[in-house]
């Protein structure tokens, strides 16, 4: 009987211990909920994501005493990358008056989009979520800067064209898009289809069901099709298996390009040397050589306050979430220029997001020059003016192998605006006049 009592005691303690990382909110602070997935099948991606965000928020608190003196409080809620659990987390943490939320999942983002204007909480889906929400006239509360999936897909096509010798050389080329069979995975398809029509390349769409552990049928079709280029929109184990399968059939790895969620360290590890040459899109530079990393080491890890392992600093997803957290902080800072250095409301922070202007100079001050492109967000354009680049795995690390690539905005933006009308109508929204908000 004694061991049963002990077991019950241990379980009770574990439950009472609550979330992993919490910086308890005090009066005079800004609260940001963290919907994380440190457990479950997507944990290898979720851990660096959570650590990057926490490290940057903690750095701002430790090094700068907060954002203009206002500290950031945050609390993790584990959702296992499950949409239902993510929404539950949001609802639970909503009671703490958050000003913004980063869903870290396209599925969760879709669920939070209708809640944002009601709850007055900004949704920042950085490089994921619903592309149509980039039209700020229809979706004032949702931001997806610095780029959307559609812009990314167009940048990929531009990269392929550059490798082939020009946009006119795309004609007759075969491109296969292997995608996670989910709203996320399908996001790039309309853009790729439009560009295939315009530039006369042959596009083949191949869906892979969750979780993507078995992809033999997909790669048999690739074998038969023998495309010139492969673009992958995957997540979790789908990425590792896809890269291994590509290598196993002897496909040229430097012609396999993942999207920016298909190009992390964990994606290439299982394939070992066979992954050498594999490429992916990105919008934040990899590596731990930036000034911000020195600060993270000095103010956090040297003092035992880091969220994760020191050797995780500089990983692709870690850096992405450092950038994500920095953009959150800079939006809050922008809002403070109008509303003062005090805890702000969601409405005030929304204004900060919409007027964010991150210059090269500011990036240098933040120790992040070269880590991302300068960014300007407007009332109309919640995607901003971001650009992407291509990185390549050399067996040990990611190397940047292209210049910054401007998306094909003349194709993406009209489609995006049309989609925004459709999506907004479903929600009963009306278009606002941005001219009146300046």
């Amino acid at each position: 009987m004694t061991w049963r009592v002990a077991l019950v005691g241990i379980v009770a303690l574990a439950v009472a211990a609550g979330p992993w990382v919490t910086r308890v909110q005090a009066a005079g602070e800004i609260f940001i909920p963290l919907l994380v997935y440190r457990t479950g099948p997507y944990a290898p991606n979720g851990i660096p994501i959570a650590n990057g965000a926490i490290d940057y928020f903690t750095l701002v608190n430790e090094r700068d005493g907060g954002v203009n003196g206002v500290k950031i409080a945050f609390e993790e809620c584990e959702d296992q990358y499950d949409t239902k659990q993510g929404v539950e987390c949001y609802e639970r943490l909503k009671t703490k008056n958050p000003v913004l939320v980063n869903p870290y999942s396209t599925g969760i983002t879709y669920q939070l989009i209708p809640k944002a204007p009601v709850d007055k909480v900004v949704v920042h889906s950085m490089g994921y979520g619903m592309t149509a929400t980039a039209d700020g006239r229809w979706f004032p509360w949702v931001f997806n800067f610095p780029m959307t999936y559609w812009s990314q897909a167009s940048a990929f096509v531009k990269y392929v064209a550059a490798q082939e010798g020009g946009m006119d050389k795309l004609k007759g080329k075969k491109i296969a898009h292997i995608y996670h069979n989910s709203p996320y995975g399908k996001e790039a398809n309309p853009t790729l289809e439009e560009l295939a029509r315009r530039h006369a390349f042959e596009l083949t769409l191949l869906a892979v069901d969750h979780p993507g552990q078995e992809q033999k049928a997909t790669w048999l079709q690739i074998r038969r099709l023998n495309p010139d280029w492969i673009y992958i929109s995957g997540w979790g184990v789908m990425n590792q298996v896809a890269i291994k399968e590509a290598a196993a059939i002897g496909f040229k790895m430097d012609r396999v390009v993942g999207n920016w969620w298909t190009g992390t360290e964990v994606d290439v590890i299982p394939a070992g040397d066979a992954a050498k040459g594999y490429k992916s899109m990105n919008f934040n530079a990899p590596g731990a050589g930036f000034k911000v990393h020195q600060d993270i080491n000095k103010f956090l890890y040297d003092k035992g306050k880091g969220a994760g392992r020191r050797d995780g600093i500089g990983e692709v997803l870690y850096n992405r979430m450092v950038v994500n957290a920095m953009l959150n902080v800079e939006a809050i800072r922008t809002a403070m220029t109008k509303h003062g250095n005090k805890p702000l409301t969601g409405e005030q922070v929304r204004w900060g997001f919409e007027n964010l202007n991150l210059t090269e100079k500011r990036l240098e001050e933040l120790g992040m020059k070269g880590m991302m492109r300068p960014l300007r967000v407007t009332c109309e354009n919640h995607e901003g003016n971001g650009q992407a680049f291509v990185q390549q795995w050399d067996g040990k690390k990611w190397n940047v192998v292209s210049d910054w690539i401007e998306p094909i905005r003349e194709v993406v933006r009209p489609k995006l605006e049309a989609a925004a009308v459709d999506e907004a109508k479903k929600l009963g929204y009306t278009m606002r006049d941005c001219a009146k908000e300046k």
């Binding site: 457990t39 944990a43 074998r223």
Partner: protein, 312 residues
């Protein structure tokens, strides 16, 4: 309408006839994938045979075995030592499960035992993560992963190795069940717990043995799937791929797990490659279940399951 019928009933077969080498490649891919599913299904079958329990935790056992093995390898253990230690861990786990989970629940309804394996599933998942971490780990025990071409048909060495391993494992298990004393005792327990006890068959020992064997099967499955995708928590989801195999092959038959795996593997690959494009692809997951359910209409007990006749 006639176009649709042509696309469904004629075009795929013309496609097959037009590219026979590719068809062979699809079939081989299906056979290899099916054997990989069988490896997982075997673990379910063993435990169901011995105790009538559907072991919800079988997928996590595969993950736990692979995590233990790769964890030991990462700490510098030679492959043979790491394998031996992993076997020891899985036998220890079997003993602990019998002592802590099964023994207190003897004579309880099957659903209670099933619920207990759900609890075991979450415990092993959490414990495994705590002990070995959640990162993706490369599993390299020297199995080659290149492809070679035979008469225009590409064959992957890793998949070939997995297929041979599965075949050997099934042969050994069949011999174990048919020819050894423990194997016969196990079959007796599967037929009737109380009758087996009345003639002196030690139920507790049998349970430990069968969970240990299921643990060893989990190691082999973990090795093969781990080499394919890296060792990570989604390995536990491969149980989903074993379910249609079990529905088709029957929960109590080792040969059923193999034949079921082959039919599911080949069926889903043919379905995905030749009929999938008609509906936008990604049909193989649910197509496997459709295939299994279609078989159930004809043989409700599965291909090799025992037909249960009860007096009412």
């Amino acid at each position: 309408m006639s176009d649709l019928l042509y696309m469904v009933l004629v075009a795929p077969f013309k496609d097959m006839a037009g590219a026979p080498a590719f068809l062979v490649e699809v079939l081989i891919g299906g056979v290899f994938a099916g054997l990989m599913y069988s490896l997982v299904a075997l673990g379910f079958v063993l435990i169901y045979k011995a105790s009538g329990v559907f072991n919800f935790a079988q997928g996590v056992m595969v993950l736990f075995a692979a995590l233990t093995l790769v964890g030991l390898l990462e700490r510098g253990a030679p492959v043979v030592v790491a394998l031996a230690l992993t076997v020891a861990v899985m036998v220890g786990l079997a003993y602990a499960i019998e002592r802590v989970v099964l023994r207190p629940l003897v004579n309880q309804p099957q659903i209670i035992l099933f619920m207990a394996t759900i609890g075991l599933n979450f415990f092993l998942e959490g414990f495994g993560e705590m002990a070995w971490g959640a990162n993706v780990k490369k599993l390299d025990i020297g199995i080659p992963d290149r492809s070679f071409i035979v008469r225009g048909v590409q064959i992957n060495e890793l998949e070939l190795t997995a297929a041979v391993t599965a075949a050997v494992l099934v042969t050994l298990l069949a011999l174990f069940f048919q020819t050894t004393r423990i194997g016969r005792a196990l079959r007796a327990v599967a037929d009737d717990h109380e009758a087996a006890l009345s003639i002196g068959i030690p139920l507790k020992t049998i349970w430990v043995v069968v969970w240990s064997v299921a643990g060893v099967v989990a190691i082999v499955a973990g090795l093969m799937w781990g080499a394919k995708s890296g060792v990570q928590f989604s390995l536990s989801l491969i149980a989903l791929k074993a379910l249609p195999v079990l529905i088709l092959g029957g929960f109590e038959s080792v040969p059923g797990a193999i034949v079921g795996g082959l039919i599911i593997g080949v069926g889903e690959k043919l379905g995905e490659v030749y009929w999938g494009p008609l509906v936008g692809g990604a049909i193989e997951n649910w197509f496997a279940y459709v295939l299994a359910l279609a078989f159930l209409l004809v043989r409700p007990q599965g291909l090799f399951g025992e037909k249960i006749i009860e007096r009412v």
